[in-house]
């Protein structure tokens, strides 16, 4: 299911009327079946966005769509989402199995499957009436949702107007509109909605709806009636024999199966099915998927962090949600487990093909498993796209700095007639800069963007060589660099570098980005 966010805004207001805009006019479409990483520093609004998608927080403005359905006003349980909390929030008093079963127990499987089967039976018995009736049900539901949405939007507008009035009153100015007139116009608006809703309802209601419904029900009853008598007889017979009292539904259905009319067989089956067993099987299957089938009878406290994480994922997935939301799911795990678990998450996501949103502040984590990443800062989107594309072509200074370890190296420079200079040496040229001139620009270079070159235009003062496992990097300094030291990832043939001996390097053009100093906008 595709998830669409339109102009999503969340404003937190505290008692002393300080306003914090956590998410600001956020627009994004999460494609069906993809894993999207919401990435950003802490406080950038990524978790708030996730909680708004889940329904635990309601947006101040803007709308959320799951497919074509507007879910903005729906509560979390109505949205059908799975959420994995940062510290899992497993119920400590329930065993792993009960934790996984809990969402299933709340779903009322029996009612739903009887309804579904009845619908199918209606279509089979009286296709013409069923088509009209179910079309009407579908349309009226969407109409109700539409007006519920309109009403809530009007309410939000009304409340913001009231707030405005109270503010102007505080400033002792004369309010243009009084509270009572606003209330009146709001009431009128609601009344209008009610009237047009009734009118539209009238339009979609087919003629003789009552006759159609009763025709449909009669046709169903006609098939059911002779069978009902049989059924009662069988029930009495079974009840007389205490052997059958235990697991009654099972025996009852076994006896009914041969005599039930074909047309309503599925409805009857749904009525007498063993849902306990079904739920149990589903929970076990989910436990197998995440690899914890041997831990089912333990309490969460007896499990390791990684296992708890899997239980949390199983609990989120067991009700077959349309969307899976993960809130920093790896932050409580140690480094090794984190690597392993993120591959696991990717595998599970691929296996069920569920639309997934993943919130993290760790760029490496996001880049490694996401199909698409969205970088956020100050509640607004900075850049989105394929992780590698974003890395290769950052839209602004923030994105360039946030992605990549070691961090991008920044130098202060100047732009003259399309040529980028550091200390009067031309280090970079691009046709996209044309013949622009700017006194102050920032030159960002990826650590892997350097090449040793005798005729190189940039001279660096090496400090020391740092070796972390297979990575060998040179720590050097440059007077124009924005940080006291800069890191360069070395190739194996560059090991000849000696401390205290200046080196000359050339910048690789596709690893070098030019930014405007004041705005951070990328120039080339």
């Amino acid at each position: 299911m595709e998830v669409r966010l339109e102009n999503l805004t969340k404003v937190f207001e505290s008692k002393n009327s300080a306003r914090t805009i956590a998410v600001n006019q956020f627009n994004f479409t999460i494609p069906d079946g993809k894993l999207v990483g919401l990435l950003g520093p802490s406080g950038c609004g990524k978790s708030t966005t996730l909680y708004m998608i889940s329904g635990l927080l309601y947006p101040t403005h803007g709308r959320i769509f799951f497919g074509d359905e507007d879910v903005t006003e729906l509560s979390p349980e109505q949205r059908g989402i799975g959420l994995v909390f940062q510290n899992y929030a497993l119920y400590p008093h329930m065993t792993v199995k009960k934790n996984i079963l809990f969402p299933l127990e709340n779903m009322n499987l029996k009612k739903k499957s009887i309804e579904d089967a009845t619908k199918l039976a209606h279509f089979a018995i009286s296709p013409k009436e069923a088509k009209v009736y179910y079309q009407y049900i579908k349309e009226s539901t969407s109409l109700k949702n539409k007006y519920k949405r309109l009403e809530s939007e009007a309410k939000a507008v009304y409340q913001s107007k009231l707030l405005e009035i109270s503010k102007t009153k505080k400033r002792n100015e004369k309010a243009t509109n009084s509270t009572s007139s606003e209330r009146q116009s709001f009431k009128d608006q609601l009344n209008d909605f009610k009237l047009s809703f009734e009118k539209e309802m009238q339009n979609i209601t087919p003629d003789k709806l009552q006759t159609i419904v009763s025709k449909m029900n009669d046709a169903y009853a006609a098939i059911e009636k002779p069978y009902q008598n049989h059924k009662q007889k069988i029930m009495m017979q079974l009840l007389l024999n205490p052997i059958h009292w235990f697991d009654f539904n099972h025996h009852f259905w076994k006896a009914l199966k041969p005599i039930v009319p074909e047309a309503i067989k599925q409805v009857e089956e749904a009525r007498y099915k063993d849902y306990q067993k079904q739920m149990h099987d589903e929970a076990i299957a989910m436990a197998k998927l995440v690899g914890i089938e041997d831990q089912l009878n333990k309490k969460p406290a007896q499990l390791s962090g990684g296992q708890q994480q899997r239980v949390a994922i199983a609990r989120a997935l067991v009700k077959k949600p349309k969307v899976l939301l993960l809130d920093e799911p790896l932050s409580n795990l140690d480094a090794r487990l984190r690597l392993q678990t993120r591959e696991e998450i990717k595998r599970i996501q691929k296996e069920i093909g569920i639309t997934t949103v993943f919130v993290t502040h760790d760029q490496e984590e996001a880049m490694s498993i996401s199909d698409e990443i969205v970088l956020m800062n100050f509640g607004a989107e900075q850049q989105k796209g394929n992780p590698q594309d974003v890395y290769n072509q950052p839209a602004n200074l923030f994105v360039a700095k946030f992605l990549g370890t070691p961090q991008l190296n920044l130098y202060q420079g100047a732009l003259k007639n399309g040529k980028v200079m550091i200390q009067d040496q031309v280090v970079f040229e691009s046709s996209s800069l044309k013949s622009k001139s700017l006194d102050e620009v920032l030159i960002g270079v990826r650590p892997e963007g350097y090449e040793m070159d005798e005729k190189g235009t940039l001279t660096l003062q090496p400090q020391f060589i740092e070796m972390i496992g297979r990575d060998v990097s040179l720590v050097a300094s440059h007077p124009q660099a924005q940080t006291p030291s800069i890191r360069i990832i070395l190739n194996s043939d560059d090991f000849s570098v000696k401390p205290n001996q200046l080196i000359k390097v050339r910048l690789k053009p596709h690893k070098t980005f030019i930014f405007e100093k004041t705005t951070g906008r990328r120039l080339a």
Binding site: L56, P76, F85, A89, Y91, F102, N106
Partner: protein
Amino acid sequence: MLDHKRDLKAWLYLLIPLFLLTIFTFYPLIKTFLISLFSEYNALTDDFGRYFDLYAYTAIFNDRFFINALTNTLVIVFVSVPASTILALLIAVSLNSIKPLQKIFQTIFFIPYVTNALAIGMVFNVMFSHPLVGGVAAEGLINTLFQTAIDWVGPTATVERWRTVVLIYTIWSALPFKILVFIGGLQNISKQYYDAAKIDAAPKWKVMTRITIPLLSPIISYILITSFIGSFKAYESVLSVVGTVGRSLDRNRWTAVAYVYDKIGISGLDINNISYYSRGAAAAVVLFFIIMIFTFLNLYISKKTVHY
């Protein structure tokens, strides 16, 4: 060596409380036990007498008023404790879920706790009062409110009526402390579990029964055990609410503790040469064992059902 030294220090610290406990708890306990077994014990001379037997026990179990006192106590225990615990839990949960005025309501519910039990009991007594001779004194608040002329707590009140008033009083006065403790417990439950329950689409009653109560169970168990013990020892509540003229309790309204009080106030022996004082001691011992058995039972059940 070092460990041993530290042990010595710990024992030294413990010495003072142990000494006090011995004088004020263990000695009286053992002496009470002994007195109950010497049926000729003389309280004035502190003479244990000649006979070491169980006559004091047979005497109290043959005493109609002791059986009645036990019944009264058990009614208070088994009605007021569950009722007040459930009520307190419901109030605490609702208090915890409202934001505005929460502190004010908390204070209101807590007021009975900081008020003297006897004083409140007497207020209850006045509220439920009924003049024996019509027209001499006014009806109490309750009778006036409901336009009735029922004797709730006076000498002519029926068993059901005075018990009802006592139960209302004990439940009501037990609420504040329980509410306070429950609110403390509720605020310790991480909000995350409720968010998770919302995501899992659990209906409200299920959140209560499957999440709130299990997570609160250690506190519920503590409250149940302490208040069962407290209720077994009920005396002042009954005395202040349904005590008759001269602040004495009608024999039919005795609780187990009231029976003990009455018996240890009488010195000397009865016609069967059984000391009243020994009877009081025997009743106290019986009560002690009932409470002990009950507490063990409670602990055993909570071990099976409480999640820690």
